[in-house]
Symmetry: C2
Subunit: 531 residues, 2 copies
Amino acid sequence: MLMSKLIGKTSKRVEEEFNIDSQRLLLRSGMFRSISPGLYAVLPQGKRVIDKLLNLLSKELEIKDFQNIIIPSNIEFERAVCLTLRNDLKSYKDLPKSIYNVSSIERKKIKVKDGILKSKSFMALRSFGFYENQQNMLDGFEQIKEIYRIIFEKIGIDVIEVKSYNDKTPIENCEEFIVTCEGGDREIFNCKGCEYRVLEEVADFHIREEDIEDMEIEPVHTPGIKTIKELEEYMNIEAEELAKTLLLKAGNETIAVVIRGNRELNLYKLSTLLNVPIEDIEMADYEDIDGKIETVPGFVGPVELEGVRIIVDREITKTGHLVTGANKRDYHLKNVRYDRDFVGDLVADVSYVRENDKCPLCGEDMTKKYGVDIGKILNIGKITDIKSMEYKNKEGKPNSIYGVSSYIDIYRLLSMIVEKQHDDDGIVWPVETAPYQVIISILNVKKEDQVDLGRRLYNELKANSIEVILDDRNERAGAKFNDADILGIPIRIVVARGASENKVEFKLRWENEKEELGVNEALERVVQLLK
Amino acid sequence: MLMSKLIGKTSKRVEEEFNIDSQRLLLRSGMFRSISPGLYAVLPQGKRVIDKLLNLLSKELEIKDFQNIIIPSNIEFERAVCLTLRNDLKSYKDLPKSIYNVSSIERKKIKVKDGILKSKSFMALRSFGFYENQQNMLDGFEQIKEIYRIIFEKIGIDVIEVKSYNDKTPIENCEEFIVTCEGGDREIFNCKGCEYRVLEEVADFHIREEDIEDMEIEPVHTPGIKTIKELEEYMNIEAEELAKTLLLKAGNETIAVVIRGNRELNLYKLSTLLNVPIEDIEMADYEDIDGKIETVPGFVGPVELEGVRIIVDREITKTGHLVTGANKRDYHLKNVRYDRDFVGDLVADVSYVRENDKCPLCGEDMTKKYGVDIGKILNIGKITDIKSMEYKNKEGKPNSIYGVSSYIDIYRLLSMIVEKQHDDDGIVWPVETAPYQVIISILNVKKEDQVDLGRRLYNELKANSIEVILDDRNERAGAKFNDADILGIPIRIVVARGASENKVEFKLRWENEKEELGVNEALERVVQLLK
């Protein structure tokens, strides 16, 4: 490609401010262009990088028999894939089968300061695997994870896998791929001692067993005291000595959730536990309670609470002498203890992790990091919501099919490569994903010998199937060097005065030193480096 | 690819009925699958054909310096491209520049009986060129046309270029690529004598000069006669002896259009003439007329009609003694003649072609054919509706940029290849666009020698970069032959009893004869054929 013809000029600055460095560079280098707030076009260089990423992914996927199909984007992906293939998966002989698909996706919630990471429209590679049973599905989950791991290693970015959740229908097993970086909007808890890595929303934590003195339950008169803050002051206690009881409506059911006063209720965990979508869980209102549950708002407590299912956060069961509401106006109870004074219908982890919590696996300290999620894998489990989606097993009996769904956000993957590999002057592309591998700059396009040598080199590299860009523009040397730096092409060859002696200047983007080489030597060096 | 693993089974029949043969074959061969009425997924074989078409197109486009970019689909294409590139096109040195883009597009109006041709979601390759002036734009129009012509020739379909129109903003110069076929919904007029080819909507036609006797204009009492039909009977005349005068609202203006009684008003032509979008033209209503135009609904005529711009179809000016409304209740005029009795503010072609009209260029008969439009090119003209879309010319003066936009509907292109190249047994792929070039059928997978030979051939062909599919399924011979036929793979090699003597059966999809060949001979034949 001739730089004089290339679409996508570089720029010294961009007007927009971003949370994350790479976003500025993607615009400055002319790889992306902003159309309107949150909406981006990909220019030719960006397109080349995307094609390389998709090629790497496709190759690895096809080795494992994933087949490329096109799914229209005006219907939910998982549903579309199942409807498309249900008649092709009628026998155990037809399983397993796996597909992948590359398409543009619209994002509803955008954040302008996150640039391309949260653009209105982005590109994703999605996969779906169909399996005979639970075990095969679990193997499928590991298989696609392994494929992505190979890719991440090839393109040289560190990616951590963390336990995650599904926004829509609750799913038991789901992981996200995270690249840690400042300004990222995913919060991850990492154990310092072991391999435990998890998204804040679903983070588990270690629970201390407390020594519990045997003290009698007793009512306390707390006139007009309704909030935890007021109660802390009135009774001179800490929030952790309280148990708050929340009345919620989850789907069609009213429930009470008992958690420690210093914890936040975790809706993600509760949603999975109850198998009710997050959006269907809300605070109960007067009509849900009145006449059905004998209690008084502000004084709700688990002791002798009738008419609702009681869900008890497991931390409550390890804690003694709690203060709770007494289900009676202006009264609380103290020294309440689980098992002795009340029991829950369900005991589970439904609270949020806090900064100083310890690892649930090894008890070590955990650190909190920020990152960007670039992909996700979900174990769908049995596919039950698609009509006639069934296969016959060896005995001829109909059976449900199991599914594993995944996606990689290609714009984010590209962004994270740039995020991890740039310096003050611009992008530093690794060879595998660089839009071009070599840039040749003709320093003075008015000198015939420089132009001739530059073009000769350009044609020879092209003849060797090396992707090369020739800076043939009539620009100052400084502008050419700056552009080469910001574009981040791995190998730079400058054709300058030495041209008359067939000499060129050779430099790698990630090194400071440049070398003067004979033109043939330079050619050999390029071929060797790119092998 | 092993056929046992390939996603997309063939089927003997499909439930849907289609207007066009190819649509059935695309589903039967497992290249496409129906998700819901009008919505289709593309299975792996279809995806391979699409990739080939896109490759052919990209290659040809890139030779001419068209560069591949990604444009989000939630914004109008032309607008998005201009907004994306306006800051890269600031000087005459930056022009011309051309881009192309491949993306999924949603179709609003679908027709279930047209299958993939009118699916809710389809894939298009679109291009846009930016030019300094009108002449460069016209050259750009020819350039992209020539690129598409090369592709159509390469993939072996006859495509005709016809004059067309733009649905939205009227555009002067616009052509469509049509593949003629029964059941297609585009109507084209073709001259038998010359090269004139045009869409019905914008078809011009030859106008007879009539000998006009000099007869006095005179009023006729026509009590209660309002329709053309009634008038024909009452006055015992033909519709072509009448001039009907239609009062219309075009944008904000009320106009009168005078056309011959036997012609239909052509809104496409009128829209271009007035530069008003079709959707903004409608019949005038009472409020537009009352108090502003002195006439009587049902008796409107052009003579002494005041208060509106009068647009006269050019045929009217060549015709004598017409009957028109008299702008007076229960009266018409006869022997009305253009120029003597009234004049128009504009004389133009605003009427529809009719079956027996002659060619406007050579006067020969025209025939009407049906076809499918697979693409379109539009001369946008000066781009004036995008802020700061301007370049500086050599003198440093700001100038408008000219644009040419085009698209190819990839699903339709693929469909038309199948439409033109199939027989009763299935698709007959040309080598250039076949999903695989060779199919090897192992006739009896329980015979070790057949399996061994089949696999050996398969591996050797793959090693020669030949795209090959191996039918390794445990199926009856008949089923395998049928599938090979319906898939339409150009070269079929059957490994059967001859395997013990290293012999195979060799057949081309478009020939009836099969040959027994030694395995090496067969290999050579394949390599030779695909060169």
